[in-house]
Amino acid sequence: MQASDRFNINSQLEHLQAKYVGTGHADLNRFEWAVNIQRDSYASYVGHYPILAYFAIAENESIGRERYSFMQIEEKDSCITSMTLSRFCLCFVVVLTA
């Protein structure tokens, strides 16, 4: 960032963005981005009841089971979990310091 940039709105914008979990930056790699996409997707499925119902019909499962399995997916993938945790902590730090 240039010196002149430091005080203008753009820095504020980036700072603001950095406060949200799931936002990215220039050094984000494919894996990290993919993790974010996954988390967002499952969160979205769980959050929208009609989608859950749709998946339930397609998979011939109960809606509750679907929801439960979506919520467990993160847990299964140990690798992703650890990554996510560290990201979480980082974000917390960012939020706290902001």
Binding site: Q17, Y20, Y54, F55
Partner: protein, 1265 residues
């Protein structure tokens, strides 16, 4: 907007529904006042893009309410040519010297000595401290010694005085001195505190100020502190503040050895000098004299100089560190002299000290004992005591007084300051003392590393102090970065003396304090040995009258305590707690409260407890309790968790043997109760009894303090108890009503107010038991003369009125409206105004009403003073409260007004006009339209008024009449009135402009048809000039008026005028014009304006094209959904603008695209929008902040209109671009997209292939039934 097609209406409907849902979900509600009812205004919820503060202006809300239909972007209306509304003169303010605004008490800071550094037990570990280092024990011992000496001196003086009293057989001898001594004594009791209080009443009451002095003896200076030391007869009147006089009294040489020679003084050598010895000769090198500790330079031990001071002990204490005996009466003069004189004095004293005649002992030591004979001086010889005067005396010519051609000295420097080498900033004469060394062009390499370091620090400090902002900035940074390298000692030894410089200015002090703050942060625990030094310099900031200085001082001390730790802070400040000087104790108490708030109250509690119970000296107890008071004042309601323990710590002070301790305890309780209100009564249980017992026992000042405490505790109680205790205390209060003491009066009033306002106290009780005495004692003329009494009395009476009702209070004072004293009448009027505004006039019966109006008219007519607002407001308030009941009096009132409108004095005319605007509404209520018409005609006749202030008021009065009776009934008719207003629009006075444009705007809005179109066109031209006005309200009113006029006479002509105005040079003017165009477009439908506007874009001139684009941007912002019909028409123009070389073109076009996109979202214009997005997108790499901001906003707008998926697809190409610069920009866009529409992106993310055991694909999305 009436002709919206059903489709739009449907979309709006849906959107509104969605918004409601959202609102209920997130429970975010918009302030309809702020954002207006229409939803297009809610777009303003973005991050502020430029430096204008949003919604800071209360005017905005007001106008938004009044003119909900016309809105111009706030950012624009706020924009100012040049610097802006208020701060223009800020840059030109003369630098202020701190000393100029300080009173005597505050100037005592200069008497303090920057103490040498102390032993740091933490750093030393187990080691026994070196003998040369000052440890805590040393300091305490010195303090004890000082105190002892003080006692002894006091005893001696007392004895002397007794002897003198005894010898006072001859009465005439002391007549004069008695007269002088009596006021002096009084002064120490109340008056002194009043002086100090007046300066700092903002924060604390004047009670916590210095008056801990039991008699004049407390003011006795400590050695090294030049307070008024002379006991007995000398008072300030004896000391004429002429320098010569002081010098005379000082000039007698000390009997003892030169202080500097005393070995005990050695520890002082490290101490930097006290400020103030600035020598005006720049060439002077640092001599060994400069090394002399300050205390010696400034406070020469000179006993027995004046006969009056004969019994000031003449012995210089042997071996004491502070060798200085109090200089008689040097201090009181300080208030009267300027810093230059002060400096001069110090300097002169310094010189005298060196040039003083040799004493016999010294001569004996110099000359051999034999071979010399001591001659008697001739009888006529009178020694000249001031060598400085010798210099002025005519020189005795030596030899033949023939003229000689003087040899020219080319190296001489005729007072021109030497150019500072190496690009150093300019030095002021005072600075030579500190920075003089920098002027020696010594070879840097020859210096020792220590000296080099010192030089470096000096250079940096000089740059910070006197340099240009960039110099200052880099110097500050270097100082911070290298702080640990330089070391705490050298840094503080340089910085702190600068802060004691008597000619310091606010700005300089601010900068130096900033340096300390930064350095502290870096040095951390290394500052420990210097804590006391720093405190000596920083503590005075805590009682500075400048709020920011106080805050700064608090910040530094809080940082200092965090860096040094509690133990060091306590060790450093403990000795000052029972210092003999009240000033030191006062500032120390304040500093301690800051430490408490920084490190937490619990940490400090044990220490406080110990101090408050100190058996050794009452001063310690007093200071300890004062610390509690200051803590309460400083941290407010945060004392609540510790309230009980704090009260417990101080409660025994109520029964202390010393009256000052009792007083301060009561005051501290008051502060605690005030801070804790309305909670925490249970913590005060233990002090209730002693307090109530106390008010029966004590008299005078202690009683006042106790009453104050009770006054603050009663509001915390439950209704039942409050009522009981109020009755208890009221007996005493009523007795004290008669007290002649001003301070007591104020406190009694305050306590009455507090008691009365508590719930449990009934109206009957107040009416019967309090009111008669209250009015008899307080409602007297004398009370109106003192500003603070006046305020307090009004407040208390209003509070009582809230309990007992209007009629009682007004009935009692209404007669006084005809009193012969004007200040008293004003006080009555103000009280009536407040009471009536609070409670209305329903209680006032017919008789009282008559008296009231009569009295008010009398008071209004008889007023002579300039401060006329009280009468005006009172009149307005009463008339408005009475409403229709005023009808019978209106003719009389109007008669008065008319008569006064014709008065010779401008003030009176202005006031009469203002009164019309206040009562216009009531006149309408009384159906006195004919009367109003008459007044209108009268006002119309006075439009030729010369004084702009008066003219403004007259226009305001006309406006209020027009508002109330409407356009059709107005006399004079609008068609006559408006042409009369046109020339007035040319007037440059703000008040006139504002009132005039408001009136014109109102007529254009409501009664445009009464005026021919030609006249409106003329007004349009005048209005263009008003777009330049400095006041925002005027510009806003002007722009709105354009809208009204365009609506009235059709847009063509107005538009032509406005478009022409786009060619002018001034940006401000163009900006307002574009807003006006957009408003015209909104009022008269866009199709009437767009063709001409777009045609104007063909003019090959940057300003015009930008103006057109800007108008388009505002236009689309205002018309919202209506934009869907025009988007295809303007797309080619925007295409062109977005491809222009000029940045501003692209920026403005981007913001137009944003508004357009937001307006037409969901209305099926996606094709055009995607097309425009393709033009916007290449601009994402712009670096200019305004442009990139506009582009980002345009993309955000597109996200709303086109959906997040489209933008994501634009984004994907660059998220993993090989060039970091590209990735950064794309991720920024991605992030705002993500924040804006996280959920919507889920469906649009690209399909990623799995890697080994990582599953990236989202198979669920592939499911299909």
């Amino acid at each position: 907007m009436a002709s919206l097609d059903p489709e739009i209406a449907k979309t709006q409907e849906e959107r509104k529904k969605m918004e409601q849902q959202l609102a209920s979900l997130t429970s975010v509600t918009f302030d309809t006042d702020l954002y207006g009812g229409s939803d297009k205004d809610s777009y303003l919820t973005s991050i502020p893009a430029n430096e204008d503060e949003e919604n800071m202006d209360a005017m905005d809300n007001e106008v938004a309410r009044k003119l909900a239909s016309y809105t111009a972007p706030k950012a624009l209306l706020k924009e100012m040519p040049g610097v802006g509304d208020g701060d223009a003169d800020l840059g030109f303010r003369k630098p202020q010297r701190i000393i100029d605004r300080e009173d005597d008490y505050r100037q005592r800071r200069l008497n303090r000595i920057i103490s040498p550094e102390r032993h740091d037990p933490f750093a030393a570990g187990e080691k026994t401290p070196d003998a040369s280092v000052r440890t805590y024990a040393d300091v305490m011992r010195e303090e004890a010694l000082k105190r002892e000496k003080e006692e002894t001196l006091r005893a001696i003086a007392k004895k002397k005085k007794e002897e003198e009293e005894a010898a006072k057989a001859a009465p005439e001898k002391n007549k004069e001195s008695d007269a002088a001594a009596v006021p002096q004594k009084r002064r120490n009791r109340w008056d002194q505190s009043q002086d100090d209080g007046a300066a700092k009443k903002a924060k604390t009451s004047d009670w916590d100020m210095p008056d801990t002095t039991p008699g004049r003896w407390d003011a006795t200076p400590t050695p090294g502190r030049m307070t008024d030391a002379t006991p007995g007869r000398r008072n300030r009147w004896d000391e004429t503040p002429t320098p010569g006089r002081l010098v005379d009294s000082d000039a007698t040489p000390a009997g003892g050895a030169t202080p500097g020679a005393t070995p005990a003084g050695m520890t002082w050598d490290a101490t930097p000098k006290l400020a103030g010895m600035a020598t005006p000769t720049p060439k002077r090198q640092r001599s060994r004299w400069d090394e002399t500790p300050a205390a010696m330079g400034s406070v020469t031990p000179l006993p027995g100089a004046t006969p009056a001071a004969a019994y000031t002990p003449g012995v210089t204490p042997v071996g004491g560190v502070e060798l200085a005996t109090p200089t008689p009466g040097a201090i009181n003069m300080r208030g009267a002299i300027t810093p230059e004189q002060y400096n001069l004095l110090r300097w002169e004293r310094d010189i005298e000290e060196r040039n003083r005649p040799l004493t016999d002992e010294e001569l004996d030591a110099m000359f051999p004992q034999e071979g010399y004979k001591i001659l008697e001086p001739p009888a006529s010889y009178v020694p000249i005591r001031t060598p400085a005067r010798k210099l002025l005396a005519t020189p005795t010519p030596l030899g033949t007084p023939l003229y000689q051609i003087p040899e020219e000295n080319r190296g001489q420097q005729f007072d021109v300051p030497k150019e500072a080498p190496g690009g150093l900033p300019f030095m002021k004469p005072e600075d030579y003392q500190y920075f003089g060394a920098l002027l020696n062009e010594e070879n840097e390499e020859e210096l020792s590393p220590e000296e080099q370091k010192e030089r470096k620090i000096m250079k940096l400090l000089l740059k910070v102090k006197n340099g240009t902002p960039p110099q200052r900035k880099t110097a500050l940074r270097q100082l911070t970065d290298k702080a640990r390298e330089f070391g705490a000692g050298p840094l503080f030894n340089r910085i702190l003396p600068l802060l004691m410089q008597p000619t310091l200015e606010d700005q300089e002090r601010h900068l130096l304090v900033k340096v300390i703050d930064r350095v502290l942060y870096k040095l951390d625990e290394l500052v420990r040995p210097y804590v006391h030094k720093i405190l000596v310099v920083i503590e005075p900031l805590l009682i500075d009258e400048d709020y920011y200085a106080r805050v700064e001082g608090r910040e530094i001390i809080s940082n200092l305590s965090k860096a040094a730790g509690l133990a060091t802070m306590i060790a450093a400040m403990r000795p000052d707690i029972d210092n003999i000087d009240e000033y030191v104790r006062n500032t120390t108490a304040r500093a301690f409260s800051v430490v408490a708030s920084a490190l937490g109250i619990p940490a400090l509690l044990p220490f406080l407890k110990a101090v408050c119970q100190s058996k050794k000296s009452w001063q310690a107890r007093h200071t300890g309790i004062k610390i509690v008071q200051q803590i309460a004042i400083l941290i407010g309601c945060a004392v609540l968790p510790h309230l009980r323990s704090l009260v417990e710590i101080i409660e025994h002070g109520l029964n202390d043997e010393n009256q000052k301790v009792r007083t301060i305890t009561a005051l501290s309780l008051a502060a605690l109760a005030e801070a804790a209100a309305p909670y925490g009564i249970e913590s005060f249980d233990s002090v209730l009894k002693p307090l109530w017992k106390g008010i029966r026992q004590h008299r005078g000042k202690v009683l006042a303090a106790f009453l104050k405490a009770i006054g603050f505790i009663i509001p915390l109680m439950e209704a039942l108890y409050a009522s009981y205790y109020t009755k208890e205390v009221m007996l005493i209060l009523i007795r004290e009503f008669q007290s002649p003491d001003e301070e007591m009066k104020k406190i009694v009033l305050k306590v009455v107010k507090q008691c009365v306002s508590t719930e449990g106290v009934e109206a009957d009780y107040i009416r019967n038991d309090i009111l008669p005495e209250f009015f008899r004692n307080f409602w007297v003329r004398r009370m109106a003369l003192d500003r603070r009494n006046y305020k307090q009395l009004v407040d208390t009476t209003v509070e009582i009125a809230n309990k007992v009702g209007v009629a009682d209070i007004v009935g009692r004072i209404v007669e006084d409206l005809k009193d012969e004293s004007e200040p008293y009448r004003r006080m009555v009027m103000e009280t009536i105004e407040k009471v009536v505004t609070n409670l209305g006039a329903a209680d006032i019966d017919a008789r009282l009403e008559e008296l009231l109006i009569d009295g008010i008219l009398y008071a209004f007519q008889e007023q002579t003073s300039d401060d006329a607002n009280v009468m005006l407001n009172g009149f307005g308030a009463v008339v408005n409260a009475l409403g229709q009941r005023v009808k019978p009096y209106l003719p009389q009132i109007c008669g008065t007004i008319k008569w006064r409108l014709n008065n010779k004095s401008a003030k009176v005319r202005q006031q009469a006009a203002d009164l019309i605007s206040r009562i216009a509404v009531v006149m309408k209520q009384c159906q006195e339209e004919q009367l109003m018409g008459h007044l209108g005609v009268v006002l119309y006749e006075y439009l030729g008024e010369e004084y702009p202030e008066v003219l403004g008021s007259i226009l305001g009065a006309l406006k209020s009449i027009v508002n109330v009776i409407g356009m059709t009934k107005m006399t004079p008719p609008i068609k006559d009135l408006l042409p009369r207003l046109t020339p007035i629009l040319k007037n440059r006075h703000e008040k006139v402009q504002e009132n005039c444009i408001d009136l014109v705007g109102r007529i254009a809005d409501r009664g445009a048809e009464f005026v021919p179109a030609r006249e409106w066109m003329r007004i349009c031209f005048e209005l263009l000039e008003m777009l330049k006005a400095h006041k925002k309200g005027i510009r806003r009113a002007t722009v709105n008026t354009f809208g009204y006029i365009a609506k009235a006479i059709g847009p063509q002509d107005v538009l032509a005028t406005l478009l022409n105005n786009l060619k002018v040079q001034e940006r401000q003017n163009r900006v307002c014009t574009t807003v006006a165009i957009a408003i015209v477009a909104e009022t008269c439908s866009p199709f009437t304006v767009l063709p001409a506007l777009m045609n104007e874009y063909r003019v090959p001139e940057l300003n015009v094209q930008n103006g057109v684009l800007k108008s388009l941007s505002f236009l689309f912002e205002y018309i919202g959904e209506m934009g869907k019909d025009y988007i295809y028409a303007v797309t080619p123009l925007l295409e062109d603008a977005l491809m222009d070389r000029d940045l501003v073109h692209r920026q403005t076009a981007a913001s137009a695209v944003k508004h357009m996109a937001l307006g037409v979202a969901g209305l099926g214009c996606e094709d055009a929008l995607v097309h425009l997005l393709n033009y916007v997108w290449p601009n994402i790499f712009e670096t200019s902040p305004h442009v990139i901001n506009a582009v980002m906003e345009a993309i955000e707008g597109m996200r709303v209109a086109l959906g997040a998926a489209v933008i994501l697809n634009y984004c994907l190409q660059g998220l993993f671009h090989p060039a970091r610069k590209v990735r950064e920009v794309y991720w920024k866009i991605y992030n705002s997209l993500y924040i804006g529409a996280q959920d919507a992106l889920v469906a649009a993310y690209p399909i990623l292939e799995d890697e080994q055991n990582n599953v990236y694909s989202r198979p669920e999305l592939m499911m299909f039934i």
